[in-house]
Amino acid sequence: MAVITYLDAISQGLRDEMRRDENVIVLGEDIAVFGGAFKVTRGFLEEFGADRVIDTPISESGFTGAACGAAVEGLRPVVEFQFADFIACAFDQIVNYAAKNYYRWGIPMPVVFRGPSGGGFRGGPYHSQNPEAWFTHVPGLKVVQPATPYDAKGLLVAAIRDNNPVIYLEHKHLYRRIKEEVPEDDYVVPIGVAEVKREGSDLTIVTYGAMVHESLAVAERLSREGAECEVVDLRSLSPLDRDAFLTSVRKTGRALVVHEAHLTGGFGGEVAAIIAEQAFDALDAPVTRVAALDVPSPFAAQLEDAMLPTEEKIYTAARDVLEY
């Protein structure tokens, strides 16, 4: 097993699936000749040819709709948005066309919509967003958000093989920063299955995406101070592995929900509500959320850092829950 980056794990998963199944195609802006803005598809054009690796015009709505049409014809398209923020330009095709087809007509829609999301990159208001909650509200869409190279590859392979539209949000700040051993052979991380990334008995931190890493760092620090946190990485938001975090909360009696997206209307509210509904009697402290401020992602480092959830903010909130 080789140690590879989160970015290379995504590339590898995509390449393997294209080798395995000739119905898998990729389309997006600057992905063929250039290999993608972040180089996820570097070398793909040479290996798979221009029929399967398609440079599109700047027409998000157009190529998203075309991907759905190609899926009707039996292909399994993977659409790349240059930044996840630009998925907004294709919103209608995703939430109205792709999401509702199966329920209405029984037509499967095996399309993956992937793109770099997230902040910490000084990208400003249009290159930093975490749009998962725009889509978790829509029945018929699956939404996944990997935190590690292993999960990034396994979830992408699962998404490509899934017969439903899957929103696959990769965190651009993890691309080259996070490395681990990833098997070269074929495996999937099933969609809808969370993973306990660290076990503990005193506090459950329910999180996903980039915040898994900050949460693990906080757990490490608290462990040195004598408190053991269990870190549950949701990995998939839709469908959601409720049992994973409910089991954990019933064990620890305390829950902190952490995500990088905005607080209000964020996915953490859903998790908190489920805990309140189904594990109320197990709770020793209020379910608490740590998330980004309800402000557009600002550009300057001083402002972005103030807006994003940081290790320090998670630590402080965790202490409050532990000491409640």
Partner: protein, 365 residues
Amino acid sequence: MPTSTATRPSDDLTRDDRLELYYFARLTRDIEERLAVLYRQNKVVGGLYRSLGQEGESVASAYALAEDDAVAALIRNLGSLIVQGIRPRAVFTQYMAKGTSPTRGRDLNLHFSHIPDAGGPIVVGPISMLGDLVPVMAGVGLGARMRGRALVAMTYIGDGGTSTGAFHEGMNFAAVQKLPLVVIAEDNKYAYSTPVSQQMALARIDQRAEAYGIPHEMVDGNDMLAVYDASRRAVERARHGDGPSLVGVDTMRMRGHAEHDDMRYMSKPLLDAWKARDPIARYHAHLVETEIATETDLAEIDAMSRAYAEAEADLAEAEPPPEPDTVAAGVFAGDHFQPTVEIVYSPFREKRGTPRHAPASEAGS
């Protein structure tokens, strides 16, 4: 002898106007050169998107506007903002994410607005999503018309940006409503790495306008006076109620998409060919050949421009970053946030003491 057809709008430009055009193009390039240095020194936050080789079209098109018309520039239209009087310091503070920038560190590079209460240039800031400004500027034209103002709204779109749905919807809306909109469509051969042939199955970018039934023409984007002429014609039509126009400019992006781009996909022969067509060098030669200016006159302007760009960069560099505790203020209207940008006149305008063209509110009545 032909009598009327040979006249060009640029025939009316005075010597000072012509020198001012040169100065604006020069200043645009000098500001970007200075930004490139700051970028290499790690003082620019985020990317740097240059207009090297296409400064002429931004400057000359915006020069066709009246002083208090509205312009919406994209990241490669620094020249248009300089023409409209945006102080260079504002641009430097934006790129360096300073707390005193027009967006107070909230947004980047040319993503800022200047909406004066009364009189003066209107600058409508862009968002990253390409195409979105076209309907927005159509709406600026609509609003002005309803308020009885003969304002012209000008915006820009790249070859890539013309492929968006928003571009199409905005153009069509402007056309059916006959709105005072001028769109400068820039064929600079690439959209990031994608060549124009992958964006459209048209021979020329201005043919996009055929779909909307509006006037259009294609000009050599590196011939500043040709761009001025075509833009001025479009501006006059818009001002007099004849609706929107599209001006296609044939130009070349002489750098990568951004400074971090290795440009490996760019055609070397194409770059070489366009190097010989540099808009500023060509305009410089024209001014000397037609004896409007001497080499010495132009060298003086060069020196003045460079010194100004450097001084403005130095001022910006000394500005403080934003205070973290300002982050949550001003999400909703009414909180506190009134961005201001200082508007400056060029030395040529100060000398003339008159506006470039008749103010929008007085024309076309």
